[in-house]
């Protein structure tokens, strides 16, 4: 009967848009002829300096706000490299982890004796995706119930809903609201220390406290039956407080 808590795979299913490096490099070639013309009067006595090149990529190029991405660059023939967007002067080749607050186009400029080269990479930043449960149709009611519905525990000789029970019942009510086809029986159980007759009545009160709470959360009363087992169906048969606490419960069963 022991139900292990199952992690509901309700964390956001982020569809990682694994777009591969999307930075587009744009070569700005120096015009050798112009250089030659500029220096034409005195003949070109030396070979022209090789032109620099640079590439810039952001991976991933699309992130949620608050997440980070890696900006990588490689240059050749450059004497200096500078990247816009607050990064500044950087080494010839390298990478930075960045977490821009909004979509940004980064421009890397490589400067060399042979001229300049420029490359751009755009990082698209989106608002966080709301947490959504997994697609409902994929999970059976039974599996959903098993994963989402929790038992509720009571204090000694009590049937009132304490804070822990309240939290569990609110979660149960949300889950039941999501699956209107599920009908439940709430079983009331007690530890063995009271008399059998009294415990049968106390178990009934516990089951009904849980039922009333769910109804107050908007669950249709027709979906919820109760039954008291008192001390007749203990979950745990040892005689200690840990065990007794386990037995003081409203136990949810799918009909």
């Amino acid at each position: 009967m022991k139900r292990s808590p199952v992690l509901l795979a309700s964390t956001a299913l982020l569809l990682a848009v694994m777009l591969s490096a999307s930075g587009c490099a744009k070569k700005v070639s120096p015009d050798p002829a112009a250089v030659d013309r500029a220096d034409g009067a005195r003949e070109a006595s030396t070979a022209p300096a090789p032109a620099p090149t640079i590439t810039l990529t952001a991976s991933p190029s699309a992130i949620e706000k608050g997440q980070s991405t890696t900006l990588s660059w490689q240059s050749t023939n450059a004497t200096g490299v500078n990247i816009t967007g607050g990064i500044g002067t950087v080494e010839a080749s390298g990478s930075r982890t960045i977490s821009p607050g909004a979509s940004t186009t980064y421009t890397a400029r490589a400067t060399g004796r042979g001229g300049d080269a420029v490359a751009e990479a755009r990082v698209t930043v989106s608002a966080p995706v709301a947490v959504t449960p997994p697609p409902s149709a994929a999970v059976s009611d039974a599996a959903f119930f098993e994963a989402a519905i929790k038992d509720v525990f009571f204090g000694l000789d009590e049937y009132s809903i304490n804070e822990d029970a309240r939290r569990a019942l609110i979660a149960n009510a949300r889950a039941l609201a999501e699956r209107p086809g599920i009908r439940v029986t709430i079983e009331g159980h007690c530890d063995e220390r009271g008399s059998e007759k009294y415990n049968l009545a106390l178990g009934d009160r516990r089951a009904n406290s849980a039922r009333d709470f769910l109804i107050s959360q908007g669950i249709d009363s027709a979906r919820i039956d109760t039954i008291s087992y008192g001390e007749e169906r203990p979950f745990c048969e040892e005689q200690n407080e840990e065990c007794w606490q386990l037995n003081r419960r409203a136990h949810f069963v799918m009909r």
């Binding site: 007759k197 049968l200 009545a201 009904n208 039954i227 007749e232």
Partner: protein, 442 residues
């Protein structure tokens, strides 16, 4: 699922009675009430002349042991120990009782029960008498004829006859009564009945479900109990033919039924729309149902006063003993010690309430009685285990209860003083005893 019920066969059992009782001597009123110093000797019933053989010897061994146990437990007499009796077997009392020898033993024996028996063609015949040792003459007697398998019944009848005669009819003896109880079978709990000494037990329900809290109609014609169908429901069966009586199902929570002394009504706990159980009284078919407690606490475990005019029950968290009139008026708390009480049972003479009680957090209950008028309390059990669910024998001098003192739940009987405790069930788990009323007497 409705529990299947075997029809059985107390009907057969008791219809055998007329053939068992074949004679009665002149009835003598011996005492206006049982005397404290009434000393009874229980001499073994002997084979009648010309009768011998192992089967008769075996039957008489049973008869003599059961009779001795019955009379010891009756609580009315001092039983003279057998080791002191004059050695001569008493076959023909007129000649075999040596009054001088009986006068010389350390007890002043008031009466002696004697008898002889024959067995032929599987018919056992036991002739029994009580002799008045002061008057030196026969006081009364009976003869019983039946199957050798009925030998325990014969001994119980004779024990009850002795109690009836020697108490001048103020008690009828309880040796022929039965006790209903709950026996656990795995996850199921079934209603069983057994003789008051734990013998001859039989299942009454067989459905494999949960059946709880049996109680008898005072004339033993019915058993009322709680049966899961699938919620706990009030369930009333004829004990005579095993048929179920019509009674409404509530599909919520109904518990702890008790049939009224006149047999016409039943009181039980039922959940109200407010969510808590109150006590309701209805006719045996469920009609004319009315709420008599109407109170937002848990009300449970009602018991009728012998007059049928009052109800004792528990109310509150934990349970406290209250009394009210059968119309719900005049509510008052009886036992003011606090703690946790349940299973209150009103004695047949109306004077006492027996119940289980413990300090709130104690794991163990003890059996107590309280004076229904004053609330003054006496503790009856103590020592090992938890002692719960007292039920009165119809003589008001004996109680049965459940205890886990042996390591499992078993049923015990005792005298009202708490003395002569006897464990009457020994295997499995047995709880919720309910002692029957007297069965019909000729």
């Amino acid at each position: 699922m409705p529990a299947k019920i075997a029809c059985f066969l107390l009907l057969v059992f008791f219809s055998a009675q007329p053939s068992l009782l074949t004679q009665e001597s002149s009835r003598v009123t011996l005492f206006p009430k049982p005397a404290e110093d009434l000393i009874l000797a229980v001499a073994d019933v002997q084979p009648a002349p010309g009768n011998a053989g192992g089967e008769l010897a075996s039957a008489l061994e049973t008869f003599n042991r059961v009779l001795y146990d019955d009379l010891s437990f009756a609580g009315f007499f001092t039983i003279a120990g057998r080791g002191f009796y004059p050695p001569k077997p008493i076959v023909r009392p007129e000649t075999d009782i040596d009054y001088e020898a009986w006068d010389s033993i350390p007890f002043k024996v008031s009466f002696v029960t004697v008898g002889s028996a024959s067995l032929s063609r599987n018919v056992l015949r036991v002739e029994t008498s009580v002799y008045d040792m002061k008057q030196r003459k026969r006081a009364f007697g009976k003869a019983y004829t039946g199957d050798p398998g009925q030998v325990r019944t014969m001994a119980h009848y004779w024990a009850d006859e002795i109690v009836y005669q020697l108490t001048a009819g103020t008690s009828r003896g309880i040796a022929s009564t039965r006790i209903a109880y709950v026996s656990r079978k795995g996850d199921a709990k079934e209603i069983h009945t057994m003789d008051y000494d734990g013998q001859n037990s039989r299942a009454f329900t067989h459905g494999g479900g949960l059946n709880l809290f049996p109680t008898w109609a005072p004339d033993n014609s019915k058993l009322a109990f709680v049966s899961y169908r699938p919620n706990p429901e009030i369930t009333i069966y004829s004990y005579l033919d095993g048929s179920r009586l019509p009674f409404p199902m509530f599909n919520t929570f109904a518990s702890s039924p008790a049939i009224s002394p006149d047999g016409s009504e039943v009181i039980f706990a039922l959940r109200t729309p407010r969510g808590d159980p109150d006590l309701f009284i209805s006719r045996l078919d469920g009609s004319n149902r009315r709420n008599i407690t109407n109170n937002p606490a848990i009300d449970s475990s009602p018991t009728w006063s012998p007059s049928g005019r009052q109800i004792a029950y528990i109310s509150g968290m934990p349970g406290q003993i209250h009394i009210c009139d059968a119309d719900g008026s005049n509510v008052r708390r009886v036992v003011k010690e606090g703690g946790d009480a349940d299973n209150v049972a009103w004695s047949p003479d109306g004077r006492w309430l027996a119940f289980q009680w413990k300090p709130r957090l104690s794991p163990r209950y003890e059996i107590f009685i309280a004076d229904a008028a004053s609330g003054a309390v006496r503790q009856l059990t103590s020592g090992a285990g938890s002692n719960e669910s007292p039920t009165w024998a119809p003589d008001g001098r004996h109680l049965a209860f459940q205890s886990n003192r042996s390591g499992s739940w078993q049923i015990y009987t005792m005298l009202l003083e708490g003395t002569e405790p006897r464990q009457i069930t020994h295997s499995g788990n047995n709880t919720s005893p309910s002692w029957s009323g007297y069965f019909l007497r000729d």
